[in-house]
């Protein structure tokens, strides 16, 4: 019996103190520090429905991401937004709650773009279904997508339905020796052309790009762009799951900026993904200066990994303007009136 909904309903209804919703724990370090009594959800697992020709998979929150990926791969399909796995214990509920997407996000879209429906347990212990298992659905507000990246602050995601896609027929990885400025310029120029570039990464004078799509299209692009050097086969997986040596750092910032932003002149080391839209930064610069630099170009900075006292002091996520925070608080109150789900994990005010 892998359906533990009833157990969760009772736990929520009887809760007198905050609950910390926890799946595989692969992202315990993400966001602000978890608080509250741990509510283990990883035993609530299992793929509820999957039919390849419908392009939709529905699974309980505790289902392992690796299990889902294996089942999809058997049918030649995948989660195109490439959620980082970080660890083998990563669950699909955690993937949705964290809302993170991997290297192909720029071309494929983000997790929320593929989130079609959720079954949610709200703070009153009510089971609610939003969205569904079809591609197009505009009945009611799109509460399902609101759950993407909400870090479990609005409810327990009992089940999620995700749109899946065919795996590309062909892929190729090309590598070019380029300065940061040259790499950014070239990536953005390529973006406005019909080229099958699905992912990019720049680090230490080397630009790596991934092509994917129809075999003919990938071959044509390879010829057009020049063969370049090849990268290690595991490169994109290592980037996605942050196993590259660059990521082994006690403090790491994630800057999300408009992709056309020129090189950010900040001290430290950078690794750039997403055509220039994602800039990982290792630096000693104070938090305020990093956040200001990101905001100045129309982006924001997340304190990704850090010693607890630093996260505690500056918060994991960029502060919100007051009217937006009010909307956030109103929404939190709408779904979790007693404030029992993951308090403070996203913002201290939620």
């Amino acid at each position: 019996m892998n359906d533990l909904s009833q157990q969760f309903i009772e736990r929520v209804k009887s809760a007198t103190a905050p609950l910390c919703i926890r799946g595989g724990g692969s992202k315990d370090w993400y966001g602000n520090a978890p608080r509250g009594e741990v509510l283990e959800v990883s035993a609530h697992r299992g793929i509820v429905a999957y039919e390849p020709s419908e392009l939709v998979i529905t699974a309980r929150c505790g289902t392992l991401l690796t299990e889902i990926e294996a089942v999809l791969a058997e049918k030649g399909q995948c989660l195109p937004f490439e959620p980082p796995r970080f660890a083998a214990e990563s669950t699909i509920g955690g993937v949705v709650a964290a809302g993170l997407s991997g290297p192909r996000r720029v071309s494929a879209g983000s997790l929320r773009d593929y989130l079609l429906g959720v079954k949610l347990l709200d703070g009153r212990g009510h089971e609610l279904v939003f969205g569904g298992q079809v591609m197009k659905n505009v009945a009611g507000y799109d509460v399902a997508r609101l759950m993407a990246g909400s870090l479990g602050t609005l409810g327990i995601l009992l089940e999620v339905s995700l749109k899946v896609m065919p795996r590309p027929a062909a892929t190729a990885t090309l590598r070019f020796a380029l300065s940061q400025a040259e790499a950014l310029e070239r990536l953005n120029r390529w973006a406005a052309q019909p080229l099958p570039i699905v992912a990019s990464a720049w680090h230490e004078g080397m630009l790596t790009i991934e092509l994917a799509g129809a075999r003919a299209a990938v071959e044509a692009a390879q010829t057009k762009l020049g063969a370049g050097d090849t990268a290690p086969e595991t490169f994109w997986d290592d980037l996605r799951d942050q196993r590259l040596p660059f990521f082994a750092s006690e403090t790491l910032w994630r800057l999300s900026v408009p992709p056309t932003t020129p090189p950010l002149d900040l001290p430290g080391e950078q690794l750039i993904e997403w055509r220039g839209g994602l800039r990982w930064l290792k630096t000693d610069l104070p938090a305020e200066a990093i956040r200001a630099a990101a905001a100045a170009v129309g982006g924001h900075a997340t304190l990704w990994r850090a010693p607890p006292e630093l996260k505690e002091r500056v918060g994991a996520f960029a502060p919100l303007p007051a009217p937006l925070m009010t909307l956030h608080q109103n929404l939190k109150a709408a779904f979790d009136p007693r404030g029992i789900f993951n308090p403070g994990r996203l913002y201290p005010e939620l």
């Binding site: 419908e54 983000s110 299209a217």
Partner: protein
């Protein structure tokens, strides 16, 4: 015969409050931007769902963001309902006025403010027409992908409100996948920006919540849209089938073969008959269903994909296959599908266009059931739909001048939507709930879920002033619907 939204869900406005509001608006707006004469209010009494009409109390035509903010603030202060409106092409009554309420027309916000070809984005005002964005972006080899049938006339603000789709959305997504950022005004006049020119923003995904919210959470002041490189080439395969089940299976086979066509559309025999007369595209009139499958991309890609689709379609039992040989022929093949609504409009005095989405595997079953319902209600029904994503558009034909036909058509439509829910689908794929499908919301959602929607609404608009009475039924309406099968 016409309907109006239930007045019970709309706040009552005392006469003194209206007088006070009128004087305030007259002080803010130039005389031409404030319409009160019944003759001039008439064009605003309905949107594309013409069976429902309601004269608003007054119409405002602001030209600046400051004016919009001032109008909202004044309405908020006096607790007068406001309905924002673009071109009014919506098909579910989302822009139908409320009695005693103000219409906030965004028709004058029609400027494309910037196009950034390198970032592949455009910053536009809400009254800009969908097609105008693609026309302006064409100079850079870019276009705006979501293409509702009404794209010639509909505005991007309305697209945001309804999360509009179109033929391309199987491959390129709906509005929600193609909007990066919105500048919005809340009902109290607070202006905020949500989303980002970066690939994500901190906090909750309010952008997803706003898109498709049918004008009930905020008013769009500006939108940053994503532009897509124009495919170098596109070709379409037209396949005819002798039966609906075969055609339905062919759709599943294409997807299962790992192909995501740029468009995958189906028309049944009554639809084909109606459009062939109109556009002379050379459709196979004896086919039970016609499937149009488009491939776009580089010439190499398209050639590969078209060949693959031909193989799948032949194996699936297609009786006849034609591949467009040039751009003119491609457009001709599509002409009928694009003109399906007006074509049906020519053969019947009135029609209702329904909009359910179903899991694709139930296509044949649902079409067969619709055929049975058509016989039961004694009304013709033509089916055109986005087969690739299971989004049905049954066109129910009737004559409003024949007593009882509108009621029968409405009931027929309601049954189709309930059928969609029964097979695991939804009552609306892209047209929205508006006032048309408020009753069927009670079928798709439980009272707890509807309460959650009301709570979301209250989080943005505590007094329920933005587009009240639309999209989300009150518990009272649902009990009525369950008792009588009608929410009006």
């Amino acid at each position: 015969m016409s309907h109006s939204p239930s007045s019970a869900d709309v706040p009552e406005v005392p006469v003194e409050a209206r007088d006070a509001l009128f004087h305030e608006l007259a002080a803010i707006l130039p005389p031409a931007a404030l319409i009160t004469h019944p003759e001039e209010l008439k064009p605003y009494e309905c949107d594309g769902l013409t069976a429902y009409r309601q004269l608003p109390w007054l119409v405002t035509l602001p030209e600046t963001e400051e004016q919009v903010v001032a109008i909202l603030k004044a309405c908020h202060r006096h607790r007068v309902p406001v309905v924002a409106r673009g071109a009014g092409t919506g098909l579910s009554g989302g822009a139908t006025p409320v009695a005693g309420g103000v219409i906030l027309s965004l028709a004058k916000f029609m400027h494309i403010l910037a196009i950034d070809p390198q970032a592949c984005t455009a910053r536009v005002q809400p009254g800009v027409r969908n097609l105008a964005i693609s026309e302006a972006a064409a100079a850079y080899g870019l276009y705006y992908a979501p293409d509702p049938s009404s794209q010639l006339a509909c505005t991007i603000g309305g697209n945001v409100a309804e999360n509009s789709g179109g033929v391309h959305c199987l491959k390129y997504g709906l509005t929600v996948h193609n909007i990066l950022k919105l500048r919005i005004a809340l009902i109290d006049g607070t202006v905020v920006e949500i989303g980002s020119n970066a690939f994500d923003s901190p906090g909750y995904d309010l952008l997803a919540l706003l898109i498709g919210s049918e004008g009930m959470l905020a008013v769009v002041l500006e939108a940053w849209v994503k532009l897509t490189p124009k495919p170098q080439t596109a070709r379409v395969v037209m396949a005819s089938f002798d039966d609906l089940t075969q055609a339905g299976n062919a759709v599943a086979d294409i997807i299962a073969a790992g192909i995501i066509p740029a468009g995958l559309e189906m028309m049944d025999m009554p639809a084909t008959a109606a459009v062939e007369d109109f556009v002379h595209a050379g459709y196979d009139l004896s086919a039970a269903a016609i499937l149009l499958a488009e491939s776009d991309g580089t010439p190499e890609e398209v050639e590969e994909e078209i060949a693959a689709m031909q193989t799948v379609l032949e194996k699936a039992g297609a009786r006849d296959l034609r591949v467009s040989q040039d751009e003119a022929e491609r457009l001709l093949f599509w002409a009928g599908r694009k003109a399906a609504f007006p074509a049906v409009g020519r053969i019947t005095p009135d029609y209702l266009c329904m909009d359910g989405t179903i899991p694709r595997k139930h296509l044949a079953t649902v079409l067969t059931r619709i055929g049975e319902l058509s016989a039961r209600y004694g009304l013709r029904c033509a089916n055109v739909f986005h087969a690739g994503d299971g989004n049905l558009h049954p066109l129910i034909m009737f004559d409003a001048n024949v007593p009882g036909e509108l009621e029968r058509a409405t009931e027929f439509g309601a049954r189709i939507l309930e059928l969609s829910v029964d097979v695991g689908g939804t009552i609306t794929g892209e047209h929205g709930v508006g006032i048309e499908k408020v009753g069927q919301m009670c079928v798709q959602f439980t009272p707890d879920e509807l309460a959650a929607f009301h709570a979301v609404k209250a989080a943005f608009d505590p007094h329920g002033l933005l587009n009240p009475g639309k999209a989300v039924p009150t518990p009272r309406r649902c009990s009525e619907y369950r008792l009588t099968g009608t929410a009006r």
